[in-house]
Assembly symmetry: C3
């Protein structure tokens, strides 16, 4: 399947409409730093978030959710058990799930957990270049949540990882990459202010889970999630006084971004 | 005791003044998603929040707090123990406490916990229609935190639940219901934007605990909490660009809402 | 070493420039209420936050961090282990660390933990007067997170505590005190709105850890952190509609506050 940028832009417009009509139920097992912000991005976008992250409930919920996010930012013991449960249940039920392997590489608890989750075959993996390199088994991990590696340099590892999981891998950076191991798409929208707000990256993983719920073409839904999210960031950044105002305006923009903004701004290649 | 809407509006004005003079100490054992937002609503309203949610400290604190909120949104193991402790200690000390049985019904951990807490006789229960129906033992629970049932249809179960607990039950929705099993009051203020901000419902439970601290007439204090909270939401919604701005303006409005706004806007019946 | 207010103002200007150039990696083990806000203050200021708060990872990270914050606000079991680990590892590696003994005094879990951490010799202790008095072993603790004691009345205990730890002690209030046991500096900047936002005090502890990373004169870096933080609060408070707007504008102001604002406003004595 070859898709032109025009195809993907049109797909993004349609996917956003479907998301708002369907109100997908997105289970988020995510870190304590960004959990409130993530829920607010979901509500603004038009999804219904549920932060069900304890053992026994995580598996029960993942089977009925529309999509699941698993983010390793602050992996407390109960959350770790909940993550394995939810990934397993989502996999069995055919519910799409997104893995965000935050800061894996050198950290002794989350790194083996990340590999264990990778082997459960996430529908989408999202990370910065360092995290994707680490998760592909070829790198040494990142410095906290900053990427020290370049997005393009991570492409071969992202492709290998996608082939391994049978899913899609997205590498975040100034230009985002999405690959299914064969096709690779780039999205050049966004604002540096997204990196000045905690959760700016983490909540994108939730958006990918929400969009994955509306169509089975997960290369396209992942591109759509990135395009909508980063176009909202562009709208929010215009005339903005700083990262505090930006975070507020970004939530507003996620609730108002529409097909016209996508048509005018999408920089997909 | 029969109360007219005029009585309740006047009571609301007085209760808000007393709350700001007394600065009640409100212990919140609440979910990780909304804990910061809840603390900010308390500070804006004029209360003093304390998120003491670990075993041993929860009971020590509940005995000296002015009011306690127990919210089941993300009930991790330590929090579950802390909830039982705090509810027991509050009950023994005569400290009013509010139970918010978030998403109970089908979920395997929080549902039995909700029943256990219900049997400790909360001063106030707050939930959407589905949660109240589930807690009354007659329903099958909600879809995450959305109400799938209608507020008015939950009235018989809310009345039965209030009779069972000896307290007050509030059902949140476009028009909120409050009942003590005999009298029922409706509050028709608010804004749909409250449902687009995570914690929009959860923080109302904390407000109910804060108002319960200022008078022993808990039907009236619960109505007052809803009226003040939802009138602040109306003030915040005017000319608002989206849910991000709304959340900020709502905190501002909670700090400025006063007797005049209550007199002009209260829609109590 | 005697420092004039002019010296300290000039030092503050230089320290802020260095912080923004160095982007110190600040590990925060902090409470669930303020963790997102704290990360956002760090990003706005120019530091890189990492909320690594689980056992095994906490010690691994503290050895490579630029500074560490340990805040006792909601000390869950895993966090308590992580705090001891991180304080020990930071001490061994010569990484500066800040202890914020939130609400210690009467609370049965955090109070002995606070003493245990104190005995690991924090580089900086930050608290309100009641907390500093409690940590010095001479008081009975605070009422939640409010200071019931006066800042100046805590000075002898702050000095004794600084002598005991070999570090610096800061007492927050309308006028902040910083002492190393010998010299005492006062900073009279700030806004009452900081006390109306949850995390207004807690995030200052993170700022102290960030500034401690840029110079070994920790009396001066702690004064610099307070001055920058409270001057940003003054800038944010101007023409502000309430605590919701203030929190947003404060994050913006932390990202824009500069040497000129410091020169014009610093009230160091």
């Amino acid at each position: 399947m070859t898709r032109t940028p025009e195809d993907l832009t049109a797909f993004t417009q349609t996917a956003l409409k479907r998301l708002r009509a369907d109100v997908p139920l997105v289970q988020c097992i995510t870190n304590s730093v960004v959990v409130g912000f993530t829920a607010n991005t979901m509500l603004a976008l038009g999804a219904s978030p549920a932060m069900v992250d304890i053992p026994r409930e995580a598996s029960a919920f993942a089977g009925v959710a529309s999509g699941v996010l698993i983010n390793l930012g602050t992996p407390h013991e109960e959350q770790r058990a909940a993550m394995i449960e939810a990934a397993t249940a989502a996999g069995s039920a055919g519910v799409p799930w997104v893995l965000d392997p935050v800061a894996i590489g050198a950290m002794p608890v989350r790194t083996p957990l990340g590999y264990q989750l990778r082997d459960l075959r996430p529908t989408v993996v999202r990370g910065n270049a360092s995290e994707i390199i680490a998760l592909s088994g070829d790198g040494t991990g990142g410095r906290g949540v900053d990427a020290t590696d370049d997005v393009e340099s991570a492409l071969p590892m992202a492709q290998a990882l996608a082939t391994q999981t049978g899913g899609v891998v997205a590498v975040s950076g100034p230009v985002d990459l999405v690959t299914d191991g064969t096709s690779t798409v780039r999205v050049a929208n966004g604002s540096p202010l997204l990196t000045r707000v905690t959760g700016g990256g983490c909540a994108l993983g939730a958006a990918m889970a929400a969009f994955a719920a509306v169509d089975r073409d997960r290369l396209a839904t992942t591109v759509a999630a990135i395009a909508v999210y980063t176009i909202a960031a562009e709208l929010a950044a215009e005339g903005c006084a700083g990262p505090g105002s930006f975070a507020v305006r970004f939530i507003d923009a996620l609730s108002t971004v529409d097909g016209d903004a996508i048509a005018q701004r999408a920089a997909i290649s």
